[in-house]
């Protein structure tokens, strides 16, 4: 264990290189066999070059990191950072441990990451941006760039944090993030609640005639509750997505057929 005693071999410059590769390249080689595995290996190569000098070691390390990997891209930086810290300390002597730490972290991190960096992020940034664009405001199309750059900065910090915290990262960070996720979920759900009546359009042109009296169905529905049809369609979609084997592509096809049928029955127009 002389290497461990000689101190750190990874410099800040190496970590910056890893960050850029991770940011730009994690998913370029996305494939059905190893998913982000090729990109993960690509990302960590600057660190591997510092740590492993012989051809045999390098070959072993490359093959280890080409294995299957998949998580939310923003969260992957924490894992790569932690991985480098662990390999700097213990080398490759315990391949299974490194593999287990990577696969052990990618699942829970994807759970948090998909909620924060995809679901909540999209429901806030893109619903407001699209809403502005629909009103003819050009700023709406450009505004998502600003939070996107902020996320890139977060990803840089994640690389450094992952490296500093090493193996501890999984436990500590997850609990800190839980509260933040709760608050962000409240914000996200409030916005989504306002989204259905603003962006789903469904007008009912149906008119009942009873002698001289006309009943416009849309007006009747509005007195019960505004935006009743949009809400109903959202709830049906939500219910369908919960069914086993039902995915977003099937839902698109269902809604397309529903639109065509309701149009031709003159219920929607």
């Amino acid at each position: 264990m002389t290497e461990a005693q000689t101190g750190k071999k990874i410099t800040k410059r190496d970590l910056v290189k890893v960050f850029w590769r991770n940011l730009l390249g994690l998913q370029l080689g996305w494939n059905y066999e190893s998913m982000q595995g090729l990109g993960y290996c690509y990302s960590i190569i600057p660190a591997l070059k510092k740590l492993y000098k012989t051809k045999e070691e390098m070959s072993k390390a490359l093959k280890l990191h080409l294995q299957l990997f998949n998580t939310t891209p923003a969260m992957s930086h924490l894992i790569v950072g932690a991985d480098i810290a662990i390999e700097e300390e213990y080398g490759l002597e315990n391949e299974e441990t490194i593999s287990a730490i990577k696969t052990g972290m990618m699942g829970p991190f994807a759970g948090i990451g998909d909620t924060v960096f995809v679901a909540i992020y999209r429901s806030l940034v893109f619903s407001i941006a699209s809403y502005m664009a629909l009103q003819g405001n050009v700023i709406g199309a450009l505004i998502p760039i600003i939070p996107a750059i902020a996320i890139c900065w977060v990803r840089y910090e994640f690389t450094m944090l992952g490296y500093q915290q090493g193996r501890k990262i999984a436990l500590d960070f997850a609990s800190q993030l839980k509260e933040l996720t709760e608050g962000a979920s409240i914000l996200g759900l409030t916005v989504i609640g306002g989204l259905a009546p603003t962006v789903v359009t469904a007008n009912v042109p149906l008119v009942f005639k009873n002698g001289d009296v006309e009943f416009k169905l849309q007006e009747m529905l509005d007195t019960i509750m505004p935006s009743m049809v949009p809400v109903a369609i959202v709830l049906i979609s939500y219910w369908l997505l919960g069914k086993k084997g039902f995915n977003s592509t099937k839902l698109i096809i269902f809604l397309l057929i529903l639109g065509v049928v309701l149009y031709n029955l003159k219920i929607l127009g």
């Binding site: 940011l23 994690l26 998913q27 370029l28 080689g29 996305w30 494939n31 059905y32 090729l38 390098m58 070959s59 490359l62 080409l66 891209p73 995809v118 909540i120 999209r122 893109f126 619903s127 407001i128 699209s130 809403y131 664009a133 629909l134 405001n137 709406g140 199309a141 996107a148 608050g183 962000a184 409240i186 914000l187 996200g188 759900l189 409030t190 916005v191 609640g193 009546p197 962006v199 469904a202 505004p226 935006s227 949009p230 809400v231 959202v234 979609s237 939500y238 995915n247 977003s248 592509t249 698109i252 809604l255 397309l256 639109g259 065509v260 049928v261 149009y263 031709n264 929607l268 127009g269």
Partner: protein, 255 residues
């Protein structure tokens, strides 16, 4: 309107970089909101591009490649839908009506790309056997080509044969179908909302969604106003929660 070759090439180049961006920096170039806007800008009808892009964006709001699942390519669809409507002097509904089937059709190219990249992985594996790190790096970078072409090629071909495509659509698509697709375009944003509801802790926090709904449907408040109220509620919730936690912990010490 006639579409010039430079416009076709510019839009194809945009499509080429859009998907690699969606996979890396995520500056939102790879989203229909931006691609629709850009197409409108290039073809001289910004309002059309904005509306088509925003409508398609709302549909895919919650859709993401969770675990690498393939989703409809509404980025390319927004380019082609906007362009076809501008070329043929049609309205926004027409653009959305044809963008939907195009987006669904292009799903297949996304699947093909993810299959092609297996080839690069296997070549990278051989470089790894020899300990050649730079060889592995090259294989990952080469992934840009199938990703880029999977979007740029259909956009180029679609726009190059734009007039033929549009006249085929307008001649052969019956009114009952076009009218139906327009209605479908209006209700499809429900999907984006429903997917987000699946991913957020709805069972625990559904009351906040009702608050958002009432503000929009009854009080006609804008989404930015609703977001501010949502932020205030979230902050108050966390504050009260921490306060309660501190109190109960304090109580323990007293005992």
């Amino acid at each position: 309107m006639h579409i010039a070759l430079w416009q076709i090439l510019l839009l194809s180049a945009y499509a080429f970089i859009a998907q690699p961006d969606a996979l890396s920096l995520q500056l939102s170039i790879g989203f229909p909101l931006m691609s629709g806007f850009f197409t409108g800008l290039v073809l001289g009808n910004v309002q059309m591009g904005l509306t088509v892009g925003a409508t398609l964006q709302l549909m895919v709001l919650g859709v993401n490649t969770y675990g690498g699942a393939t989703v409809p390519d509404f980025m390319s669809a927004a380019i082609m839908g906007t362009a076809f409507a501008i070329i043929s002097g049609q309205d926004v509904e027409f653009a959305i009506g044809i963008a939907l089937p195009i987006g669904l059709l292009l799903t297949q190219l996304d699947i093909l790309t993810r299959m092609i990249n297996v080839y690069f992985l296997h070549k990278a594996g051989r470089y790894a056997d020899e300990g050649d790190a730079d060889g592995v790096s090259r294989m990952n970078i080469l992934g840009i080509i199938p990703w880029g072409l999977s979007r740029a090629l259909p956009v180029f071909l679609g726009l190059y044969f734009g007039n033929e495509v549009v006249s085929a659509i307008t001649n052969y698509l019956p009114q009952w179908l076009m009218g139906g697709l327009k209605v479908a375009g209006g209700i499809l944003p429900a999907m984006g909302i429903a997917i987000l509801m699946r991913y957020l802790p709805l069972k625990k926090f559904y009351p906040f969604m009702i608050i958002g709904f009432v503000l929009a449907a009854y009080l006609k408040m804008s989404l930015i106003g609703i977001a501010l109220i949502g932020f205030a509620i979230a902050a108050a919730y966390l504050y009260l929660k921490n306060d309660l936690k501190a109190q109960s912990e304090g109580g323990d010490i007293d005992d």
